[in-house]
């Protein structure tokens, strides 16, 4: 039997790694990869709690399903923005994204 805390620790590790990717990487696509890791960590948490705490109520799974949709929407729009930006500025460096700076 795997205790609940193992899943949570795994999820915490994945989340921290994703956070590190988001903070440390310069390439915008790499930052997006980090965000995907973080979303997955959240999903592991949700499913683990669903299974260990309340398998009769589907809230946990429904939440994961919604996270899937949000992740896909985020990836689609995010990557479209990155590509558009790359065309405009010739760079995918997130630090260069300062078009709104006055």
């Amino acid at each position: 039997m795997v205790p609940l805390s193992w899943y949570l620790v795994f999820s915490a590790a994945l989340f921290s790694l994703g956070l590190f990717g988001v903070l440390a990487r310069r390439n915008a696509v790499a930052i997006l990869l980090g965000i995907e890791l973080m979303l997955n960590a959240a999903n592991v948490n949700l499913v683990a709690f669903w299974r260990y705490m309340a398998p009769a109520r589907m809230g946990g799974q429904v939440f994961v399903v919604v996270v899937f949709a949000v992740a896909a929407a985020e990836a689609a729009v995010g990557l479209a923005l990155i590509i558009s930006f790359a065309r405009l500025r010739g760079s995918v460096d997130a630090d260069q994204a300062d078009l709104l700076r006055g």
């Binding site: 399903v65 899937f68 949709a69 896909a72 929407a73 990836a75 689609a76 479209a80 590509i83």
Partner: protein, 117 residues
């Protein structure tokens, strides 16, 4: 028994079989490396310029539409299983879901993003 144990073993074997065959073939065949042999093949012409040709932006638009339609499955498959046991409005909910997505397809079509250029 959790049926996924079976699936896991099955997939492992399904991957291991070709992998072993590849290893087997590697030691069965001759090995006489030569620089000419391992050159990039382009119908006899020597290769020029960087290999990483740019992806056509048009492919990306198809991938975008595909992702959106793929994600709807997450919602449609559970719906497809249960709608026959529930009142009629459930079937209509699913149809509405599909119609909203079809609206997206119509938009992309009208914008001309589906045209092969």
């Amino acid at each position: 028994m959790n049926p996924w144990i079976f699936v896991g073993v099955f997939l492992l074997v399904a991957g291991a079989l070709p992998a072993f065959a590849l290893l087997f073939a590697k030691y069965l065949g001759p090995r006489r490396p030569a620089p000419i042999k391992s050159e990039t093949y382009e119908c006899g012409v020597e290769t020029h310029g960087p290999t990483w040709v740019q992806l056509k932006a048009q492919y990306y638009v198809y991938a975008l539409v595909f992702v959106v339609f793929d994600v709807e499955l997450v919602f449609l498959f559970p719906w497809a299983i249960v709608y026959a046991r529930l009142p009629l409005y459930v079937a209509l909910e699913g149809a509405l879901f599909l119609l909203i997505l079809a609206g997206g397809l119509v938009y992309v079509w009208r914008k001309g993003a589906l045209e092969w250029a």
